[in-house]
Symmetry: C2
Subunit: 270 residues, 2 copies
């Protein structure tokens, strides 16, 4: 495991003992642009190791080639995040072949289309009233008890909207992203002021998840799981609050500390 596979980030550790600035490690999300026979095919958000294996497996999985013999050359420019792939003969790229896109489950709905950082750079979130860390911790415990489907099948992710210190909406889906889209959509339909909401999720906080929150104007994302390095970067740049490992009376704040009121965790969650 190369050191490049870990990013150090400064976090604010919150517990009933108070707060402490500490160092934590997160995994990067690396954008690998796949150019096949001179045409842009896709951008894979991945961990930057075993890229040749990833590309080979991906091309076969996605039905672009039947086997390795059809892959003439894979040239990876790791620095630039691009892989030039030469396939034998004329390969019809699937987008033209099918003309539409599937967003698969299990993982649910990723950002289908390249929402580059440029496309959301203007979406910096305005400052707002801090939310009590103790309230997020309590909601997260309540949230996890709500998941009947998870309890019965182990097969779903859940998301919730926290509004005025309580869970205003709770949804499950086979996909982590779908669950977040469902609660964000519910907040829109119910006319909740998104700038005073927070998103709770059971899943890891990846860059596409923070992007969803930012685009919806929701200033906090919290999870019992970990964020990626890219998610933290984007969140810091656009002023989103990110809390990971929210478990019991603890949480790690990775971005947007001013979004959280970390006083009196001990009393409130007692």
């Amino acid at each position: 495991m190369g050191t490049k596979l870990l990013h150090d980030v400064e976090i604010l550790k919150v517990s009933s003992d108070g707060t402490a600035v500490e160092s934590d490690v997160v995994v990067p999300e690396y954008a690998l642009h796949l150019v096949v026979n001179g045409e842009n095919l896709a951008t894979l958000m991945c961990l930057p190791e075993a890229l040749r294996e990833l590309i080979t497996g991906f091309l076969i999985s996605e039905g672009l080639v039947k086997d390795e013999s059809m892959i003439r050359r894979i040239r990876i420019e790791e620095e630039g995040g691009e892989a030039q792939v030469t396939l034998a003969g004329d390969v019809e790229l699937p987008l033209r072949l099918y003309g539409k896109t599937t967003v698969n489950a299990g993982c649910g709905s990723p950002s289908l289309f390249p929402r580059t950082l440029d496309s959301i750079r203007s979406r910096e979130l305005p400052p707002g009233e801090p939310v009590k860390a103790s309230c997020i911790m309590r909601a997260m415990r309540e949230f996890q008890n709500l998941s009947e489907l998870y309890g019965r099948t182990g097969g779903v992710h859940a998301a919730a909207i926290l509004f005025e210190d309580r869970i205003a909406c709770f949804r499950e889906d086979v996909g982590r992203h779908n669950a977040v889209d469902k609660v964000a959509g519910a907040a829109v339909i119910d006319g909740l002021p998104r700038e005073r909401c927070a998103v709770l999720t059971t899943g890891r906080i990846s860059s596409d998840l923070v992007t969803k929150a930012i685009v919806h104007g929701i200033p906090i994302v919290a999870s019992r799981s970990a964020p990626t390095g890219r998610a933290v970067e984007i969140a810091r740049m656009l002023n989103l609050g990110v809390a990971g490992f929210v478990r019991g009376r603890r949480m790690n704040i990775y971005a947007g500390r001013e979004r959280f009121d970390t006083s009196s965790v001990d009393k409130d969650t007692a």
Copy 2:
């Protein structure tokens, strides 16, 4: 929670006490085809509830609309799995807007392009030598100890190739799908006979994951987590072995029982 959100499936429960046919519940994956202003936009693999919220959240998340006021009408034909969306004015659909596709991390690489059941129907896997259930259980324990990155960050998924009773390849990624593509790609590059391999994964077994295994000609997928209903259906149709909840000396076989040698679990894993 409607009953339609649970599917009953018959499983073979394997433990050191022997085997038993039991009933289990899995969550469905529902294919929702989104048609926006008359054009196919995407197919969301999702849990079939709160579809209006999902569509609203998705359209905003993906930047197709800024807010609800731009959504004129959403007509959902639940039976047919289609939603007709009418947006105000001429909306440039992102595929034309950007001309390429991003596969996001956290969840990694979903099947980008609609690999309908029709496109893989001819890929039925031939029968093969059964793999010892006890061997899969042991490999799964070993496999989970291999993940240093997970241990340090909690932010990755892992996959492995089991070949001749041992782990031949182990890879991690921010995406469950990427991890599987990496080990499948490694098996291709290393020239392993895929028909004698099995895929181990830390993630849930969704339809796109079983599709990857089938397309690569790998006859078994095993996970400590759950499969979806659609994954089980596809696996049964195409003769893939699926074992879920592989934990300690237990596993549930959801499909392809003849792929597993369930004798002597007690002795081998002692």
